[in-house]
């Protein structure tokens, strides 16, 4: 026991002595990225430290991706029917050489498919924002409305948006608006709920300021409520877009037309498994970009609070 303690002590002290970063900062720097930034700013840090910090920041994500590809390659080599990374890479080169070709509605480039999926998400999400944000404000501001809508939202929210697809088909008589409709349904709940929570959590201090200044309702909304709720709203938007991007693939598989979900299904029917794997990566990357863009936007409006 005592031997073990001594060794771990030594490890700590060896670790602490060369790094100029003070102890509390080093503790906070649990995330490797932060550590890298800190030591990069420190002028007295030797080059080897900087390189090490950079390595710590960059290596783990790359190792993760490498592991994923290795497991995939292994499965492909053993499993037979799943194409390996190299085969997919070759297929991707061909596919992305011309992502925007158009040979009629059933044979369009992957770029068109992604864009039309994004368009559906955009429209469905846009309508959801148009309805959900004001509704969230109303529910958050008035306890009666909250009590009234709470059971409705609680009942409908757990339902898979795809269950609403037939209703959309029935009402709109067309596949395309029906898919947009499912996006609308799945996007609206996080927007309503987050906006309402945001309105309910406007700090009483700010409302007191509004009361002492005796601001009119318009000023209260524009100068206090809206800016205060904005971070919550952006969280709602981020969750909505994330869910919408999940749902659109499934919805398009059912409705057909042009879109990444439909494309996946079509390539399955053509037995082009390489393309399905490419689609998985494309869907993942687009989702990641959407998420990051919204996180960036959210940071812009966090007012240095968090």
């Amino acid at each position: 026991m005592s031997a073990a303690t001594i060794t771990s002590d030594k490890v700590v002290s060896m670790h602490a002595t060369p790094s100029v970063v003070p102890a509390p900062a080093a503790n906070e720097a649990a995330a490797p990225v932060v550590a890298a930034k800190n030591s990069a700013r420190e002028p007295g840090v030797p080059l080897s430290e900087t390189v090490l910090a950079l390595f710590k920041a960059v290596f783990p994500p790359f190792a993760g991706i490498a592991l994923l590809i290795a497991v995939w390659a292994l499965l492909a080599a053993k499993g037979g029917s799943i194409p390996g990374p190299l085969a997919v890479w070759d297929a991707a080169k061909v596919l992305f050489a011309d992502p925007f070709y158009n040979n009629g509605p059933n044979d369009m480039g992957i770029g068109w498919n992604v864009l039309s999926s994004l368009q559906r998400v955009g429209i469905g999400f846009g309508f959801a924002a148009l309805v959900g944000i004001p509704l969230g404000f109303i529910i958050g501001r008035f306890a009666f409305m909250n009590a009234m809508f709470d059971p409705v939202i609680s009942l409908l929210r757990p339902v898979s948006p795809l269950a609403w697809l037939p209703i959309g088909l029935l009402v709109f008589k067309q596949a395309d608006p029906a898919a947009t409709w499912t996006i609308f349904i799945c996007s609206i709940w996080p927007m309503i709920i987050n906006t309402a929570v945001g309105v309910q959590r406007v700090p009483q201090d700010y409302m007191n300021v509004a009361r002492v200044l005796d601001l009119d309702e318009w000023k209260i909304v524009t100068k206090i409520l809206f800016p205060s709720v904005l971070p919550y709203m952006l969280t709602g938007i981020r969750l909505s877009i994330g869910t919408a991007w999940l749902v659109i693939v499934a919805a398009e598989m059912l409705t057909g037309g042009v879109g990444i979900g439909f494309w996946v299904w079509d390539e399955w029917n053509n037995l082009k498994v390489e393309h399905i794997i490419i689609a998985i990566f494309v869907i993942g990357i687009v989702g990641l970009l959407l998420e990051q863009a919204l996180l960036l936007l959210a940071r812009r409006f966090s007012y240095g609070n968090s």
């Binding site: 700010y206 007191n208 300021v209 009361r211 002492v212 005796d214 240095g304």
Partner: protein, 265 residues
């Protein structure tokens, strides 16, 4: 008191309905505040001093008795009774200047042009020596600076009475001292009427014309009122050995730690 009475509190009481029944926070409060007077409310925590301030502010309404400001019953908050909140309460999405301007616009926006309003906001910030941080956001400045901006916001409204709820409570001792001196300076320049809640004995004596000592809650009321007849301008260093200052201080300490001993929480 030859001067005009600005705020008149008559037999005011405040009780809350709780699950355990009625909780009486304040009872039988009678207090007149004259124009240009600086009144401090002091007492142990839970004595309802902030509640009394909120009643004058109109943020809460009394359950009995009445409060009158400048001849009119206080029925709600209003800009003629500006409040400096303990935690500054600046809007984090507005710069210091915009925070003050929001208040200025509300009070003078109907009568004055944009240029005049901006000049007012700038003048208020200059008074508290914050000209260097006009366009900084609250999270970019220190706690003491935030409180300065809060004070500037309140003064910029040219209120009939300024209400301060432990304005320096969250600051360290040195910052607090410099802000107290600054407030004294602003007071002499503007001749404002102020009611301040504090739990700091020195602060109360240094700033006040009268100190209202509150008994312990529940059902707290005014215990004693101590007039502070120290000449202005007041200098903290000179006062440290001043006979009257020491006496006032002793009277407060005696009230707080002998007559109204707070049982260990």
């Amino acid at each position: 008191m030859s001067k005009k009475t600005i705020v008149k509190v008559e037999d005011a009481g405040m009780s809350f309905d709780t699950k355990k029944g009625k909780f009486v926070a304040l009872r039988n409060i009678d207090l007149n505040i004259a124009e240009g007077e600086f009144v401090s409310l002091i007492g142990h925590s839970g004595c309802g001093k902030s509640t009394l301030l909120n009643l004058i502010a109109g943020l809460t309404l009394p359950t009995s008795g009445s409060l009158i400001c400048d001849g009119r019953e206080i029925a709600g908050p209003g800009p003629e009774r500006a409040v400096v909140f303990q935690n500054h309460s600046l809007l984090p999405w507005l710069t210091c200047f915009e925070n003050v301007l929001l208040a200025v616009e509300r009070v003078f926006g109907k009568k004055e042009g944009k240029g005049k309003l901006k000049a007012r906001a700038e003048a208020a910030l200059e008074m508290v020596h914050m000209t260097h941080a006009l366009h900084k956001y609250p999270h970019e400045i220190s706690g003491g600076m935030k409180q300065r901006v809060g004070i500037a916001r309140a003064f910029a409204m040219e209120p009939k009475i300024l209400l301060m709820d432990e304005p320096f409570g969250a600051l360290d001792a040195l910052t607090r001292a410099s802000l107290q001196d600054e407030l004294n300076g602003v007071m002499e320049k503007t001749g404002a009427t102020v009611v301040m809640v504090t739990h700091d004995v020195d602060e109360a004596v240094l700033l006040s014309d009268r100190i209202v000592m509150m008994t312990n809650g529940p059902a707290a009321t005014i215990g004693e009122i101590l007039p502070v007849n120290l000449a202005r301008p007041r200098d903290r260093l000179a006062l440290a050995h001043d006979r009257d200052f020491v006496d006032c201080r002793a009277a407060l300490l005696e009230f707080l730690y002998q007559k109204q001993v707070k049982k260990a929480a």
